[in-house]
Amino acid sequence: MTSMSDDSQNAALHLEGRTVGEGWVVGPRNKPHQDATGGYFSITYPVARRDGAQGFLKVLNLAKAFDSDYFIDELNWLTAEYVAERDLCILCGEQRLSRVVTAIDHGQFQLSGFLMAPISYIIFELATHDVRVAMSTSQRLDATLQLHYLHNLATGVAQLHARRIAHQDLKPSNFLVFPADATGKEVGKIGDLGRAFRSGSASPHDTMEIPGDHIYAPPEQLYRHTYADEATRRYAADLYQVGSIATFLITGTTMNAHLAAHIPEPLHWNVYGDTYQEAIPYLDHAFGATLESLSLPFSDQLNQRFRQVLRYLCEPDAERRGHPAARRSRHGSPYRLERIVSELDLIARRAALEVRDAS
C-alpha cells in the first residue's frame, strides 16, 4: 500500500528528463539545501532549452502538507506561499526589475501515473553562482567588484521598495551573480521572494515575528520585538539586511556576526529576554564598537563614508534607520534607498580610482 507522502507517488520528485512549459527540459533534481533561492516549499531542478537557454525550476512540494498533522492548514499555507511568490515574480518580470531575479516561465499541469500528480512550477533565469561562490572563485576580487555587487544589491532592494515590496529574507545565498551583461560586468540580482511582503497583498508569513532566515534577521526580530508601524517592520528590516550583506561583501562577515562578537554574552539575543527598548542602548554600543573595529580596504576618507552608509542602514533602533535626507523629507518613506544607492555609487567610483592608482 502506498501513502501520499511516499516519494514514489510524488510527481514533483520525478520531473527529470521531462519537458515543462515552453520547451524546458528538466535536469537531475538538486539535493536539498542546494537551491540557490532557498525556498521553503520547493523542489528544484536545473532546466535547459534547445536554444541553449538555461533556467532554474522551482516546483511546489505538496508532500510537505501530507507530512503534517494539520494537512489542510499546511496545504493552505504552501499554496498561498507559492501563489504569493509566483505573483511577485510575475510582477517583477512585468516591471522589468533589472536587479531582481525574474521568472521566465510558470505554470501548472498534472503528471499522470502519480497519486500526487499536480505540478505547480516557476522557472527563473539561471544565475552563475550566489555571491559567496562568486567571491570565492573570482580571479579578480577587489574592492571595486565588491562595491559593484553591493551597488547591484541596493539597487535591487530599492526597485522592490519602490513597488512597495519588502524582501524580508536578504542574505548572501539569496544574492545571485549572473554572467556579464553588455557593460562587460557580472550582474548581481536578488533572488527568492518567497518571504517577501507586498503591500495590499496578504501572505501567510505576514504575521511571523521573523519572516526570513533567523540567522540574518535584524536585531529587533532577534530580540522578538515587533514594531507597530508596518514600514518600520518591513522596509527598515530590509535596510538592515542590505547593510549586513554590505558588511559581508567587504569584510567577509555579516553585521549580525559582528554585533554578536561585540555584545556581552548576558545581553546577547539568545539570553536577553527583556524588552527591545531596554536592549537598544547595549546594541548601540556594540554597533559603534563594530563600526570602529571594522577592517575596511579603502582610503581613510572612503572608509569613513562607507561606515556612515552602514550606520544609516544598520542602526539598531529601526526607527532611526535610513539616509538622513530621506528621513528629513516630508514626503515618501524615511527608508527610501535612492540616496544610499547614490552614495554607494560614489564610493564605488572613488574606490575604483584608488584601486587604479594603487596598481
Binding site: 559567496r132 572563485t137 567587504i250 569584510t251 567577509g252 554578536a260 562578537a261 556581552p264 539568545n270 531596554e278
Partner: protein, 500 residues
Amino acid sequence: MSLWNIDDEREVVPRWRSFKDTVSSGSLYPLTTPPRVDRGALSAALAEEFRRSPSVYVAADYLSALMTLRDFSESFDAVIHYLRQNVSPQEPLAAFVSRAATIAHPDTTATSEDPPQHRRQSRNLRIAHLRQRLRTEPGNAIARVDLALEQLIDGNLSDADRQIRSAVQLAPNNRFVLRAATRFRLSTADPDQAVRTLSDSSLTDRDPWLLASLIAAAQIADRSIPQHRRAREMLSSGNFAPRDVSELASELGTLEVHAGRDRRARTFFEQSLTDPNENTIAQAGWAAKAVGMRLDTSLLQVDRGYEARARASARVSDWDTATTEGLRWLQDEPFAIEPAVNTSYAAAFGLEDFQSALKITEQSLRIHPNDSSLRNNAAYAAANLGRLDLARDLTRGMVSFDDPNGFNAFKATRGLIAFREGNPGQGRELYQEAVEGFGSDQPHLAAMALGLWAIEEHRLGTTWAKTITNEAFRASRRADHPDADLVIQRLLTFSTIRHE
C-alpha cells in the same frame, strides 16, 4: 586622629563601574529568558553546504551564522580551522576569524581578582577614546556613562554631570544608565535628583535592581518611599530570580534595621543572601551585629568583595588585610568617598603607613575637596609625616561634620598639629575638647584620643605625660576596644623608648 566608624549607616547604593566591568559583575542580566532556539537546525543548511562544497565565503557565511547564534561547537572549530588555512592574514576576514576564536575560547588564565582600575590604558587615553567615539556616536548612552565615570574620577564633575544628563535623556529606561546616574547623584550629594531620575523611569516599577536603588536613594534623601508595597510584592511574587532581588531584599532589610524590627530585617537579609552579590554581602556584614545575624565567612570570598572583606577585617583589627582590600575597593570605586575615608584610616591608624594614607586622601580630595572626614584623615597623615603646612591647610575652613564624632576627631587632629608645631598649650586644649566631646558615649574614641595625646606629651617630655598616660590607661580599660588597646600599646612602646 583619623576615624572610621565601622557601624556607620550603610544603604545598598548601586555600584558604578565601567560598562564592561558592570556586565561581568552580573548586575545587567535580564529579568526574563527568551525561548530557546535550536541552533543546530538553524545553521544546518549552511553546515551541509560547507561540508559538501567548501569555499572561503561559504565558510565565512557559516562562521557568521555560528557567531550570530553563538554556537561554539565542534563545527565552529572546523570552520575556523578551514578559514585559517585559506585566508591570508592581511584580509579583513582573518581579523574576524582570530577575534571569533578568542571569543569562543577565552583565555581562562586571566584573573578577575585584580580590580578593574588595574588596566594598562591610562585614564587620559580612555577619555580621549570615549570622546572620539561620541563624536561619531552622539546617541551612545553607554559610552556617555563610561565617559562620565572617567571624568568624575578625574575630578571633572561638571562634564560628568553633562554626560549623565545626556545619557538619561537618551536611555531613560536602561538599567545600566539609571543605576550609574543614581550613583553619580548620590556621590555628588544630590540624592533628591537620584530619586527623581529613578521615579521618572517607567522601568523602575518593574525592575527590582532599580527599585532597590530608588529605595536606597530615597532613604538617603530622607524622603518617603511610595514603592514600598511594590517592593514587597516583588520579593514575594516568585517572579524573579534570587540574584535579581538580592539588593531589593537587602535594602528592605536595611529599612527594617532603621525601624528597629530586627526579626523582619533578618528575614529580608536571609532572602538577600540566597544568591547575593558583593554589595549585598557587604550590607549583610554591616547589619549582622545590629540584627544578631551570623554571616557565613565563606561569603566574603565573593568576586570583587573588597568592601565586605575590608570591613570584616577592620572589625577584627586586621589592618593589613583591611588596607589591602580597602585599596582594592578604592580602585574598584575610585570616585567613592567611603573607601577613601575608611582605607586612609586603616593605613594611617592601623598600619601607621602615613605615606599611603596621604596618597589615598589626596587622590580622593580631587573629587571630594570639601569632605571633612577626608580632609581630617589627610591632615592627620600629613602631620605625622611632618608636613605641617599641608596639615594646617587641610584643616582650614573645616567646620561641617555630619556627626559629632567626626568633629571631635578633627579637634584631636588639630591638637596633634599644634603639638607638632611647638604649641603644646593649644594642643592640650584641643585634645581636651576632643576627649570631652567623645565623653562616655564613645569611650573607645575618648581612650584613643587620650592615648594619642599622651604620646605627644611624651614626645616633648612634658610633666603632663604621666598624668595623661594614666588617664589613657584607665579610659582604655573602660572602653575594652581593640582600637583603643592598639593606641595604648603604641603609647607604651613609645614611652618606654623615650625613657630608655
